[in-house]
Assembly symmetry: C2
Homo-oligomer: 215 residues x 2
């Protein structure tokens, strides 16, 4: 289990009515802390439980203090999606901008994402929760579609750099993305879950993706 984010509790609680929060709670929790807490509740209990009353109770602050940072629940939900998208895509795009010029190395880097221990597991849990939410919510679905497109686009650039024509680079990127997602969410499938097995599978996958067909 991931430990919950450290959140400062307001020392003085007052029951003020929204939308005007009392001065003391003003700086007690940041917008980011509310967003983090909402993400935790989303992961552990599902989107129906991400409610202002639940969160403020959990954080030990008044409902009023919520409205200092957000207009309403929808704005909080948008913030959850925004934070996820930034974290999820920056993982990839920051790599692109780093020193690694070798496309093979970059591909290997992408394929190693599901193996990054705790951070990978936490990322997978959040992602699954957001995908579950996206099944029944237009806003979340839009965010998921955009994140998928951004990641596939990034991977396609790698295959382009490796010399594949554009359309084929996009196909290979889709296939690679599907594989990385599956390795994240079904680590125990397809044989003994031992790390050695999964790494052998990853090596085979890499070789297949680099293979050029015909001639």
């Amino acid at each position: 289990m991931d430990s919950p984010p450290v959140l400062r509790r307001s020392t003085r609680r007052r029951s003020a009515a929204p939308p005007a929060p009392p001065e003391p709670t003003r700086g007690a929790l940041t917008r980011e802390a509310w967003t983090e807490a909402a993400t935790e509740v989303l992961v552990d209990q599902g989107i129906d439980h991400v409610r202002v009353d639940v969160l403020s109770k959990q954080l030990g602050v008044t409902r009023g203090s919520f409205y200092w940072h957000f207009k309403d629940r929808e704005e909080l939900l948008r913030s959850v999606l925004q934070a996820w998208r930034e974290r999820a895509t920056e993982q990839l795009t920051q790599r692109l901008e780093r020193a690694r010029d070798d496309a093979h190395d970059q591909l290997r880097d992408v394929l190693s994402l599901p193996f990054r221990g705790r951070a990978a597991r936490r990322g997978a849990r959040i992602e699954l929760a957001i995908r579950a939410w996206a099944r029944r919510d237009e806003l979340a679905r839009h965010a998921v579609d955009e994140a998928d497109a951004a990641r596939i686009g990034y991977i396609a650039q790698i295959f382009s750099a490796l010399g594949f024509p554009i359309a084929e680079a996009r196909h290979r990127a889709f296939i690679t993305y599907a594989h990385v997602v599956a390795e994240s969410v079904m680590p125990g499938q397809g044989g003994p879950a031992a790390l050695g097995q999964r790494q052998e599978r990853t090596k085979l996958f890499e070789a297949l993706m680099l293979a050029s067909l015909g001639g």
Copy 2:
């Protein structure tokens, strides 16, 4: 949208207390009809809404009539998972038992699953709903794990028949399964969603999976 299953409503409603249902409702709804209705609610509203009171109201029958078929809610949930597993895996295993002896044809058959129109879309919706549920429920997770293992095992048999060593056949099966799932749940990703594009991608994927490396 899928149309809801046709369900016979009991013509005479009586408010009997569970667990002894009144005679008239005895045969009004089958166990299968309750299971179907529960699956629909799961897909449309999520697992928290699959409750005896919600379902009986929706079906226009008394709560008591539920207990004629099921001991409790958990037995209904088990029935939902059982029905899904049977449908989801029989899709694959029945194919294995059919006349098609050619492993190439069988692989092509597996890869064509996401393209089977309405049935595929409905299947994907149910599957996503069950995976979302499995995130937070041991019973559902067990069913999903078993279904994944059965399908990967089936696909591994195909790769074995194609001449790949057992470990490699399982790796290729995992990769293929990941691809089929991704084609089902992210049909619009990785380029224009036009069917031609996706079929081109599928052909590339098939060629890659059949490629043998080294020698």
